[in-house]
Symmetry: C2
Subunit: 188 residues, 2 copies
Amino acid sequence: MKARTDTKEKIMELGTDLVESIGYPSLSYQQISSQLGIKNAAVHYHFPSKESLGLEILNTAIGSFEKMISNISSLGLWEQLDTFFKSYRKHLESNNKICLIGASASDYQELPESMQAAASEYLVLVKGWFVELLREGREEGVFHFKGEPKHKAAVIVSALAGGLQHARLVGNLHYDEIVEQLVEDLKP
Amino acid sequence: MKARTDTKEKIMELGTDLVESIGYPSLSYQQISSQLGIKNAAVHYHFPSKESLGLEILNTAIGSFEKMISNISSLGLWEQLDTFFKSYRKHLESNNKICLIGASASDYQELPESMQAAASEYLVLVKGWFVELLREGREEGVFHFKGEPKHKAAVIVSALAGGLQHARLVGNLHYDEIVEQLVEDLKP
DNA sequence: TTGTTTACTTACTTATAAGTAAGTACCTTT
DNA sequence: AAAGGTACTTACTTATAAGTAAGTAAACAA
């Protein structure tokens, strides 16, 4: 059961990068194989279908997110929020990538059903985490906002995802402006 | 100089719908021609290249937006805002489409340069309109918010674009929640 | 009424995509 | 050392994509 190479992991990494930069429909096995110096069929060996690769990319990301929120759960609420903002901003720094949820959402109609379901699950998870963070934060007097935590969470998660995308068109500063405003709006 | 058929307009309409639902890279001339009951080459007659079609779709949308803001410029500021929210929401009602700017942003790396430039121009235009609306609204005591109008505009435009996309994953209510929260946040 | 332009169709080319079947070399286990 | 599995490569198939050249029928202008 021991892996003798790390080709599969390299495919996953590159595949994730490609989905975040050009989108799942534009991703091709040729691109992956040529960049890794292997053959087309080698990719099919590890991921028989493109759907299987796309699905594993999404599920791995869900796992990473769950691990991250668990790791930062003992931090202060402002720090948790900041960690998320910064983890999203990292996408911009390497090749103007966007987040997986946003990429999946904009390509939604072209995704196989299994990936649509995984993407939905991912967003429900992230939005749910924001709802709890905001609810708890307001209860403790850390965050200040009007309306339901669910609605505020919707604004934040969509503004960040949209912000990464829009940053491609008008510059990375756009994302920073969004973060600054969101933070400002949560202060007393 | 008289057009004897309206095929070109039909291609534009369907093309716009397709870009907003499946994205520019996934749009194909075969799809357009089969849905309009014409041949592949007929589409090439009106739009020699896919780029020419994509570019005209963007430029037409820019023209429509300019016309719209001009038409509603005499309305109250809240009404102008509401008009925009509702025009965006219409996308959801027909086949869970997303806005052209968001679609262009998420497919940005796959677009020809001319379309990248047009998409940027479009977003600059829309964001600029929001900046002015917010600046004027605060000056007149109609809108209330902290921070710079430019930053608030960034949040609103990206939350709306991201909201349309996320609505595909978690339901149309998500978009309505965003609008409700944005409105709430602009009240005194 | 003849010639020209408009709006196509027919038939094709070239490129690229996902996916597969069969073969091979190395590694591990027995 | 023999047998089996792992991780590939080679060579292929089928489908679909954008784009083009040449032909055609109807509308229009002279």
